[in-house]
Every structure is written in C-alpha cells, then in structure tokens.
Symmetry: D2
C-alpha cells in the first residue's frame, strides 16, 4: 500500500468575534497568506476575526475549518469548508487551540487568551500580530509560564509572520505550498 | 459581498478500530461512494473502519477529517486531510457524531453505539449497513427511544445507502456532486 | 502526615428526565438505599429519575452530586448537595458515567444508553433494575460488546441491587456504611 | 413537598500542582477558611496547591471535590471527598472554573490562567492572593477583557479574602456557615 498524501500544515487563528476594522483587515491578510501557502486554516467558526481570516484563506484557495460552540453547523460563518459543531460551548476553545500545528492571534480577550493557554500547555508555537491590541500585545515576546524555553513570538506584520510560519513548517516537515 | 461557496455535505462514518476484512471492505466502499459525491467524510481518525473509509474517500477525491481522542495530530491515520486532535479521550465520540449532517455505521461496539446515541439525540439521520454485525445489525430498522418518529435506516448495500444519502441531501439542500 | 479519610464509594444513577410514576418510585428507593449505605450519589442533576434518586438519597442522609449540561448551577434540581455545571450539553453524559465507581440504570432512552456505553468502555460495572423498561430491560443480562467478560447485571428489585452493590464495594475496598 | 436543604456555596480554588512552600501554606489556609464557612471546595484534584487547599478544607470539616483530568478516581489526592474523573485532559479546566460560584487563585501558570479565563467568561468573581506570584500577581486589580465592569480582586491576605467571600455570598444568597 502506498502511503497517503502528505497532510498540509494546520494553523489555528484566534481573535475576537467583535473586532476593529484594522484587526479584521489584519486577520483577512493573515488568512490569505496562510491559504496561499496551502495551510489549512482552523478558527472558532464564528464572526469577526474568525470570519475575516476564513474569507481571506478561501480567497487564496485555502481549506478552512470552523470549530463552533453550538451543535448546529448552520451557525458557522459562510467561509468554512468544514464545520465541526461541538455543542461544548466555550470549552471548544480547547479544540481550536489543539487543532493548529501552531497558533496565530490577532488582538483578543479572555476567550482568545484561553486558547493561547491551551496552545502553550500543549507546546504549540504562538505568534501574535504586533499592534493588534488585547492579549496579543500584552503577551508579545513574553511567556505564559516557565514550563519550557519558548516565548510568544511577536510579528511586526504579515510578512514577518509568513517568514516564521515557513521556517517552522520547514523545520517540522509539515506540508506547505512553496511560497511564491 | 458575494456569499461564500455552498458548503458540501458532511457524513460521519463510524465503526470499530478492530474490524473484520468484510467490514473493512464495506467501509472502504462506503467512503469511496461518499467521496465520489463530494461529501466530506468525518471519522474518529483511528484505524480499522475509520481508516478504511478514509482511504476509500481519499481515492475518490473526497475530503477527509479525523477527530481523534489524543492531543497529537500524528496519531491519526494517514488518509485524513484534516486532523482535529481533541485530547478528550472517548468524549470525542460526541464530536464525531455531531460533525455529520448524517451518520453511517458499519458494525460497531460500545464506542460506535455512543456515537449513534449522540447522533440520535441531535436529530441526525442514522444509516446502518446490513450484515455488518454489531450494533448496526442490532439496531437496523429500530429506534433508540421515542423522541421522534424517525427510525434507524437499514441499507442492504452501498447502492441503497447512496440512494438514501442523495435523497436526504437533496431534501435538505446540502451540497453534493451530481451522482454520475 | 496521616492519610485522609477513606473516600466513600460513588454511584452514578441514570435514567430519563421524563419518567413514569413507577420508575420515579424505583429511582427514589434506589437513591435511598445508596444514601443509607453512605454511597455518594452522582446524577445528571436534572428532573425525573435524577431528581427522584437524589431526593431518596438526601432523605437517607447521603451526599448527592448533580453534573448538569448547562453552565449555571441554578438549573440543577434542589436535592443536589454539590452541582457541577459543565456547559458541555449532552457531552456531560460522559462525565456522569465516569464519576460512578459503578452505574445503576432505571429505564432510559438514548441519553441513558450513551451513559451506559461510556461506563462500559471505562470498565465500570452496570446494574439495571428489571421491569423499568427502556434500555435497562433491553440490555439486562447482556453485553455492549465483547471487550471483556462482564455482563450488564439484571437486578430483580432494590434488595437484589443492594446485595450486588455491597458485594462489589467490599471486593474493591470502596468505603460504605455497614448495611443495617 | 418541602424544598430541599439550601445548597452551600461552592468555591473553585486554582493554582499550580508544583508550588512553593509559601503558596502551599497559603492554599491550605485558604482551604481551611472556606471549609470553616461551610463552603464546598472545588479543585482540580491533583497535587500542590490543589492538595494543600483540600487538606485545609477537610481539616476544617468542609466538603471537598476534585475534578481530575484522567478517567480514574484513584489519581485524585486523598483529601477529596468526591472525585469527578473526567478523562478530558486539560479541558477539565473549564469544569473546575465553572463549578465555583466564585474562584480563588494562588500563584498560577498557564493552566490556572485558562481557568481564570473561563471563570471570567462565565461571570464568576475572581479573587487572587497578593504576593503569591504567577498570574495571580500579574492580574491583581486588572481585567481579562472589557466585557463587564468587574475587576480581578486583589486580597492582601486570608482575612481580606474571607471578608470578600462573606460579602459576595451574602449578596447572592448563597449558603455559608456563620463566620465565628
């Protein structure tokens, strides 16, 4: 039996459902970059940052997955190719975080912070977009505790994020499309 | 803004990780049929029936998702295009069941039965493949309780299952590829 | 440091929120017997069988715990000494099942059956009360699959259940009060 | 039917499984104070801060509940009167947070922070013990986001915490024993 096709990398992108225009634009650009690299985009499947990122990824031909708090797929935003309705309420934040080989944050309140905690606990690298406010800015360059030597990586802009993502996926052997 | 592309239907396919040769072949054929219809295949991401169905779907060009009990994506079988590692142990059965617009069972023990329970509670239609043994045969044509008037639909073979699936997706307006 | 006090045994009692008068009486008697033995009673914290059992246990001086689907403790029935509001919806069934050193069923539909599945998967002994209908009667004396040699134990009445419980707790060294 | 007895208040106490001597002493004193007030103590059921708090509460005659990540009750510390083994891994943090009418933190890393996030999202008041380091000190007097007007309350010592707890329970009508 020949092996299955190499799976593409997966990115969790997290942020507020109620976000500023600037953060929506940033999320959409981040999603587009990830989609262009062929990286599967995981979000919480709702509005705001989650929807903007999914729209960006979809436009670039990327695959998008929404892991939603309710039990009905219809509550997801329209840019999710796959919907995982959990019925778990806010506990679905654990799943969003775990489903990324790495996690990207845009701004973010307590829900986003809980996702960063679970990503940290499970050893997933965390990238935050500088200037996006909320917990992204509060945590940039810092740590959540001292369990290992990694830090939350501050990215000046989408280009800096892309360099980090390409480097990480290369080092881990995770499948991406060649950046153009 | 133009709407996103219509999402394809999603099928949860459930059954044992330790299955007979006949049930593996049946699962692979079911997966292939679902993949050919463009229906996204959801499984528990492990071996046995889950792996066989994913392999069949992948061969037909379908999209496959594995929702796994552990917290590391690497434990999924190689035919999963997307892996949702939950870290929830057997509680991930709730998610597998909910992620299907409908659910298909091949044989099955207590884990499969728990998935059918959650599908039933949430009103997802249940199809079982006749002759596959386990809970599929024990429940064929019956009910799990009296909360509504639906029954667990017994399908004689893959062709009968395909007719049921095409009819259900049509009635619900769920996106599938035109059956050839 | 001297060791903590021996923990009392825990019983999960499961059944419908919408139950017949006979099953409510049976659940209350079962709860009273468990409370008299000093066994902590775990239920899903809602009405019907869950409430009746908790009322019986409370009357006998037992400790009662309700593990509820919603996120607010106020939705539990009034006989729960401790409320664990999960916000997990029906997935809380996994927790109810696991929280018992053993599990007792009175009647039961699909929700109850899912709890029996998780108890079975995790190797918890299952006792059903004969004549209570639903899945209790359908499964009495049978198995959920062939993973081990145990069966679902059919109990003719509360006295038979008490004998089984006392024997099991004795064999496992689980703390109970001396039956009078 | 006369109503059931008024349920006692429930406190979630969170902190590291690997804690300093000072924080263990602080947790034990907090547990003892809560137990003396008749408040049911909820913890994650493991070692460190969780065990110390449970030991303190048990010594004062309080009821203690451990909500553990694994699926076997035996992994809980010996001071838990009730064990809720979840099998959910770190996702059990959601449950620990929700099970408290309010939450108390001693020091704390990423796991503790995730619990504070879920408490915050669900509107549970948060008290931190000053000088205990970790996220307790980083968040004292601050907010996790701007969803409401509450702040994370900084308590100088156990006496200050007791005053806050007695005031909160009184205002909410939650049952406690009269402070001596």
């Amino acid at each position: 039996m020949t092996p299955g096709p190499a799976r593409f990398a997966q990115a969790a992108l997290v942020g507020d459902s109620d976000a500023s225009y600037d953060n929506l634009a940033l999320a959409e650009d981040a999603g587009e970059m990830l989609g262009r690299l062929g990286i599967t985009l995981i979000t919480g499947g709702r509005g705001g940052v989650m929807e903007a990122a999914s729209r960006g990824a979809a436009r670039a031909g990327g695959l998008t997955v929404g892991i939603t708090p309710g039990s009905q797929a219809a509550a997801a935003n329209e840019w999710c190719d796959v919907v995982i309705p959990t019925g778990l309420g806010h506990a679905r934040n654990v799943l969003t975080a775990l489903a990324g080989d790495f996690i990207v944050a845009v701004g973010g309140g307590a829900g986003t912070l809980s996702e960063l905690c679970f990503a940290w606990i499970h050893g997933r690298p965390i990238y935050v977009l500088q200037g996006s406010g909320g917990w992204s800015d509060r945590l940039a360059g810092g740590v959540l505790d001292h369990r290992d030597s990694s830090v939350i990586v501050n990215c000046d802009n989408i280009e800096a994020l892309e360099r980090e993502v390409v480097r990480f996926c290369g080092a881990k052997g995770l499948g991406i499309r060649e950046p153009g």
